[in-house]
């Protein structure tokens, strides 16, 4: 589903991501974790087509994000780390805009949006301007927007920043159910507890390079720490 091949991204002389290769299959939840500035967000933005790779490529459903971006992006639902919106649009207008951009018909939008709004109980505020939403509510709208067009791959950057605990649990359930139904989730996060219970594999990134990859059990074996949590493993490998 998602195949990152020898990906390198430079900003001027600074190397953000260096020769990164990752493959994620349908039904998997892959968590990319690492310290601040390790290149997680850059990787996600490259996969979403917001950055152009310096070298290498990313394939989504076998379509190159650089050579066939429209086809690759049709499969993506992207949830950014900072949900910047057009302030003077209502949440409902924003969801319709996203739907139009991804080719969702008006009838489908009318059917789906009410159901999506129920997930986080947003019906009461959805006709207000986004500029007046709290950060958490903006995050919820961006999560719902990613599900509007039935994506096959979710690119999720720091999914629960600003969410209340109840909504965080719902979001986790949402991602988990999505993967169980055959979807792929590629998530970057610092909130290790959020992904620990649902993640299929973990990749650890440091200074733009993948230093370790595997299931949590495999990482425990490599670290020689049976029963260790993801946080302990993270500290072990990134020191």
């Amino acid at each position: 589903m998602l195949s990152i091949k020898n990906l390198t991204k430079k900003f001027g002389d600074a190397v953000a991501v260096e020769n990164l290769s990752i493959d994620v299959s349908p039904g998997e939840i892959y968590a990319l974790i690492g310290p601040n500035g390790s290149g997680k967000t850059t990787t996600i933005k490259l996969a979403a087509g917001l950055y152009y790779p310096t070298a290498g490529d990313i394939f989504i459903e076998n379509a190159s994000i650089t050579r066939d971006p429209e086809k690759a992006k049709r499969a993506i639902g992207y949830i950014p780390d900072e949900p910047f919106f057009y302030d003077r649009m209502t949440g409902r207008e924003f969801l319709h805009l996203v739907g139009v951009l991804f080719g969702v018909s008006e009838a489908d939008r009318n059917e789906k949006i009410p159901h999506l709004l129920e997930i986080f109980g947003l019906s009461g505020i959805i006709d207000g301007f986004v500029e007046n939403y709290s950060r958490g509510n903006k995050q919820k709208v961006s999560i719902l927007a990613a599900f509007l067009h039935d994506p096959k791959l979710l690119l999720v950057d720091e999914p629960i920043v600003g969410l209340d605990p109840e909504s965080a649990v719902r979001a986790r359930q949402l991602f988990s159910d999505f993967a169980k139904e055959g979807g792929t989730v590629f998530v970057c996060t610092h909130t290790l507890g959020f992904v620990e219970d649902i993640v299929s594999r973990v990749g650890m990134l440091k200074t733009g390079k993948l230093i370790k990859e595997g299931t949590i059990e495999e990482l425990r074996q490599t670290a020689g720490k049976p029963g260790a949590g993801l946080e302990e493993l993270y500290l072990h490998f990134t020191k």
Partner: protein, 558 residues
């Protein structure tokens, strides 16, 4: 008081930071701005100087004509100042980004009011600097006035500035209260009616009627060696700028009268400013809080659990006009613009200037006769003037349209919409809209100036080419030099890319005006010139579109 000076000095220190900074581009932009202001001021100064020198040699008609010119231009400065201050002042008083910090700090409402008053006065003083000062310097030097004239003129302009700012503040506070009390539609209609009525009235005063010319040139008393200025004084009596004009006029030959007027002017400006200060600072805390409240629901009410795109009346929510994804992005741009009152007000100001210009052309044609004999020259100048308005509107809408996607552009950029289509949609939409507005403007003035069908037709073709070129250049520069972190249109328009767009567009406007004259106004065969213009336009449009579309494919939101 210390707080006001401290905050103002902090804001002014940005200029120092630019000059001391390592980046070259902001320094070039700053230097270009200073140079442009200086060159415009110098050009106006020498124009006025030549006129006043000539008039000072006209013993009989010189004085009333000098006063008429002074009255006209100072009235224009006054109107521009009030309009500019009312628009920028509303957002400075009630919506500026530092207000939450000031409100949460132990700073009194009077202090905040005084600070905002000073900011508004400084920002809106550009008509006085750009037009008023060259005018006053020119009359002083043209009439060989001494140092006292310039001292009097300085105090007169200072009083004018304070009075105008105080008046603008009262207008803003009244308008703020009015807008909050009446429905939005009524507010917009009332504002438009005031602007159109005021603009029409201004044109009626500024464009000389035959009665005005009679008042100047028909001597009332043949015994007198100088024509009377009484008719001119009566004509402008009720405008606040009249007393400043009369003072400056008198100071060039009658200091005693000038001193008398200056004393009255200073007392009046001081009393009026104090009144505005007390009324303003008393009303400010109340108005500030109610006007800072956002409009939470898009249509001013909660629509509860309405779950589809259609209201009960069958009206779509979004998109309403365009259904192609690229069209929906354009519709989003329009929606965001309509809901951005600051940009809406600024665009209203530009359209107001366009209206004044068109009304002045129409009135002039109507009053002093048709231009058939010189229609080529008139239309070429008209085309150049219209290219200025196309450039201004392009800077407002087209140039920033890619940058204004801003940090929210992840929505569009991560979607499966080819960015080329987004680019093309923006291009054709703005080209069509600007051409429609400008063609309507040209057709509006055509009957008043008695243009032939042929001239009007050729002018329309040139206007189409002009709009297509300027929009393509604006969009290309906006895409080549985007700033996704800036949401202020003025700052985007005054960036290096904005300046390049301005110069290029104005130069192309001038070029097309000259080409039009060679086609429609020259005595020879215009066909080769037309062909040359069309080919040049096509090459420019195609190369701009190519550069812009290539760049937009690789844009990154860093």
């Amino acid at each position: 008081m210390n707080i006001i000076f401290y905050i103002l000095s902090q804001k002014l220190s940005r200029v120092g930071k630019i000059l001391r900074g390592k980046k070259l581009a902001p320094k070039i932009v700053f230097a270009a701005f200073v140079l442009i202001f200086f060159l415009i001021g110098i050009a106006e100064f020498f124009g006025f100087l030549r006129a006043f020198r000539f008039l000072s040699g006209q013993e009989f008609f010189g004085p009333p004509l000098t006063l008429f010119v002074l009255e006209q231009f100072l009235l224009f400065v006054f109107v521009l100042f009030i309009l500019s201050a009312s628009i920028s002042g509303f957002f400075i008083y009630f919506r500026s980004s530092d207000i939450p910090l000031l409100l949460s700090a132990p700073v009194g409402a009077r202090t905040i009011f005084s600070l905002k008053f000073a900011e508004m006065t400084a920002i809106s003083s550009w008509p006085l600097i750009l037009l008023g000062i060259p005018l006053v310097l020119a009359i002083g030097m043209g009439t060989k006035a001494g140092v006292p004239f310039f001292i009097f003129a300085f105090f007169a302009l200072a009083a004018f500035l304070f009075f105008s700012s105080a008046l603008a503040s009262l207008v803003i506070f009244f308008a703020g209260y009015f807008f909050k009390c009446v429905p939005k539609f009524l507010s917009v209609c009332a504002s438009a009616a005031v602007l159109l009525g005021g603009g029409y009235g201004l044109v009626q005063v500024m464009v000389p009627r035959s009665a005005t010319l009679s008042a100047i040139f028909e001597a009332a008393n043949l015994e007198s060696s100088v024509a009377t200025t009484v008719f001119i004084e009566h004509m402008f009596f009720w405008w606040p700028s009249h007393w400043v004009a009369l003072l400056i006029f008198s100071a060039s030959f009658d200091m005693e009268r000038a001193f008398f007027i200056l004393s009255g002017l200073i007392v009046f400006a001081a009393v009026f400013s104090m009144l505005a200060f007390f009324v303003g600072s008393a009303a400010y805390p109340f108005l500030l809080l109610i006007l800072r409240e956002s409009i939470f629901y898009a249509r001013g009410r909660m629509r509860g659990s309405r779950d589809d795109t259609r209201t009960r009346a069958g009206v779509r929510s979004f998109p309403k006009i365009f259904f192609h994804p690229a069209g929906a992005i354009v519709e989003k741009d329009i929606l965001l613009f309509i809901r951005n009152y600051q940009e809406l007000a600024k665009s209203g100001f530009i359209l107001f200037l366009l209206f004044i210009y068109l009304a002045a052309i129409a009135s002039t044609g109507d009053r002093i006769g048709r231009f058939v004999e010189a229609e080529g020259v008139v239309l070429a100048l008209h085309l150049i003037a219209i290219s200025y308005f196309v450039t201004t509107l392009s800077l407002q809408f087209v140039f920033p349209s890619v940058s204004l996607e801003g940090r929210g552009s992840w929505i569009v950029w991560s979607s499966p919409v080819n960015r080329k289509y987004v680019y093309i949609a923006k291009y054709f939409f703005w080209s069509a809209l600007l051409f429609f507005v400008m063609e309507a403007s040209m057709l509006f003035t055509a009957p008043f100036v008695g243009l032939s069908g042929f001239a009007a037709g050729v002018a329309s073709v040139f206007l189409l080419l002009l709009v297509l070129i300027i929009v393509s250049v604006s969009l290309a520069f906006g895409t080549l030099f985007p700033d996704f972190h800036e949401s202020n249109v003025d700052r985007l328009a005054t960036s290096a890319g904005g300046l390049m767009t301005t110069f290029t567009s104005l130069a192309l406007g001038l070029f097309m005006g000259i080409m039009f004259f060679l086609v429609a106004g020259g005595s020879g065969n215009g066909a080769p010139w037309f062909l040359f213009s069309a080919v040049t336009a096509i090459v420019l449009i195609a190369s701009s579109l190519y550069a812009g579309m290539k760049r937009i494919q690789q844009l990154e939101v860093v």
